[in-house]
Symmetry: C2
Subunit: 155 residues, 2 copies
């Protein structure tokens, strides 16, 4: 291991989650990663929702900046739902994710497409556009959560 590698390891970067053949070495690495992505995505979606609902003043640039984060996050969690990642640490992922992969994939694609549209709407700077696109994206989130996410965490 060279000096750079040691430096990065010392920095606490999650190198253990990276095998040569897989991005996650252990199921819990994948679960923690996908939950983290969802947390970040939900937070930034929520910041735009707060503007849409009038709880914070609308600012077009802030909305666009948040939407850019949402669309980037929307692409990330899927690689972390690999076989064997149904348990390993507390998760709300339902077994149906691995029993109905085609249906899960459809909803994943719908969410990513709706996130792209949300990002495009945010770039227009028009609050009505943003509100409509956020509603569509929110429904895409909900439809997948309804079918594939439990209310409670289990190991």
């Amino acid at each position: 291991m060279n000096r750079l590698a040691l430096t990065v390891v010392a920095a606490g970067v999650a190198l253990t989650s990276l095998g040569a053949a897989a991005q996650f070495q252990k199921p819990e690495d994948a679960i923690k990663y996908r939950q983290s992505v969802m947390t970040v995505m939900g937070n930034h979606l929520g910041r735009v929702a707060a503007m849409v609902q009038g709880r914070v003043p609308f600012d077009a640039k802030t909305a666009a900046d948040n939407a850019a984060i949402v669309v980037m996050m929307s692409k990330l969690p899927w690689v972390a739902f690999g076989d064997g990642t149904d348990k390993g640490m507390p998760t709300r992922a339902r077994p149906e994710i691995w029993k109905e992969p085609a249906k899960f994939k459809d909803l994943e694609n719908k969410m990513m497409a709706d996130a792209e549209k949300f990002d495009a709407a945010a770039k227009t700077g028009n609050l009505d556009n943003i509100k409509a696109a956020l509603g569509t994206l929110g429904r895409a989130c909900k439809s997948c959560h309804d079918d594939f996410r439990n209310e409670k965490y289990s190991n």
Copy 2:
């Protein structure tokens, strides 16, 4: 609450973390968010490190895509270190973050600047450039973790 709001709440988006005056309603919302950002950042930094170390084949586009995520994440966690977020759920954040804010801010700015340089290096597609910039960024991570992050989580 209008229909859109209800849809978004039903989708499980973390709206509770968004007050009118603060992005996080409870300390645990801030802690969970900043930990999630760090997890995502570390994962994508690690994916580039795996290329630099030769554990996975170098692919310039993949490196650049990962670096773009790293630089976006590098800007996010700081707002979640507000007063009162030193406890609330298990955290490795040391009290020194709030006792030495100027020093913390300096290291925060250094890390963001080094992440920008890492992103720029990744865009060149040159592995040597990427390796050098990753080393610099890794040292910025480490210097902040050394001073402001505990080894173990505490409540």
